[in-house]
Amino acid sequence: MSDPIRPTDPQLYLGRVAARLGLPPAVEQEVVEELAAHVADATAALIAEGLAPEQAEREALARLGSPEALADEIRRAQQTPRRLATAGARGVFWLGWTGLFWILSSFLFVFVAQLALWIVLGFLGAWSGGADLPLGQAVGAGPYVFVFGAGAFFGAREAVLVAARASRRRVAAVGRWFALAGAPVVAVLALVVFEVDLDPLAVVGLALVPVAFVAGCLAGPRVHWPAHPVRWAAAASVAALLLVAIAALGGPATRTWGSPPIGNGMGFERVAASLPPGSEPLVDGASATGSGYPAARLSFDWAPVVAFTAWHDLRLEAWRGTARDGGIAPDATGPYAVATPDDTGGSLRFTIRVNGRPEVTHYWLVLTGADAAGKRWILAPPTTGWTSFHGSVADWLRAVLAPQP
């Protein structure tokens, strides 16, 4: 009578070994094939010794012992600490290498797509360069959404596949471990460490990087990509289509460059008094020069200094603007940043931070001063420019949650 615990049929025996192994499918297949060849050899030898075929098969399987115990021993032999350590190191290396490869390659294609888009839309007059417009945001945020997301996804996927092969573990199990261990690290890198010019779409894009990493960890070999040239062409097309689609939502916009005259309808008349009637502007706004863009600060020099003594409490105010109507933002009731003169000896220099607020994509700078009665007047034509928030996503969130000035 056959032992119910140990199957006497080779297929059944090997099936139970395979079910218990818990190794990557390719390795499992090799183990089973090797054992099948052994059973065949042993059976043939026992038949040659005079045993009946069925008896010889039973004896050959009996010599291998319990299928479960054999599978456990082979799994332990395959999954050694040495292989695990090697797999971890190789996984991290491939994560970095593949991720970087994807990021750099994708940047190249996105850059080309952006350039094409910029030229076409510029030619059609639809390009405003306004960072507060969907087109500006698309061009600004597109690379982060696409490039870093792709780098995280494919870097993670490759790392998991390499580590699974090297450690002789199943892809799903290795992927879960990579996701658990790597997602916090990737989240910190993408959201806290990485600093860049941000707008809302870029923030969303960077926030999706850890999600892409986890998706890459769990994707495994199910995600296949065609050969390289086709892959890059597809990537560039997707990026370009994404940008065009978002840009199409924005449509053309108007914006005002340079320094319009005081009281020009830019909205200041709503919130502040212009130069008193009959007075000349202190300086020509066109003489103002900015430096440092897109760094945190801009310096403006007014030279030569004219008749400051008539005014006191001089200050440079930064007002939130909008590209769509060219003026200050309709809901702006006061400057979001104010600077007093750094030095009044021979020139008037202000240093003001114009990019400290996430909601500010365009700014207006205006020189104001108070008269003897304490009334504040605009003393020079305002000047405008566009900017973006520079920092990490965490900085951006902190700024959003901070009380408004």
Binding site: L70, E73, A77, T80
Partner: protein, 114 residues
Amino acid sequence: MARGPSFATQLLKGTTPLLVLSVIGEGELYGYEIAQRVREQSGGAFAPSEGSLYPALHRLEADGALAATWRDSDRGPRRRYYRLTDRGRGLLAESRAEWSAFVRTVDRVAVPGR
């Protein structure tokens, strides 16, 4: 009282890697051949449990002592042939030295006057 595994079986368990490395040191062999070679060279005294042979082979391969190659066969299915690597040759030399020292030490205690 239940009888445990025989003394020879217990000894054989610990010496399986040494026996496997020794016979593979003579040339490339596949699993079944290795078991047969050990049996033949021991005059039938040792027959390593075939259930422990494959885990031992896979462990030695994972440690880099053995390298394996699949080869087609004229007589039946393709087989996985094992051969010693440089690391395996070093391990074999080390294991042999350890075994000789171990036998001498056991002899001094278990077979006095020998």
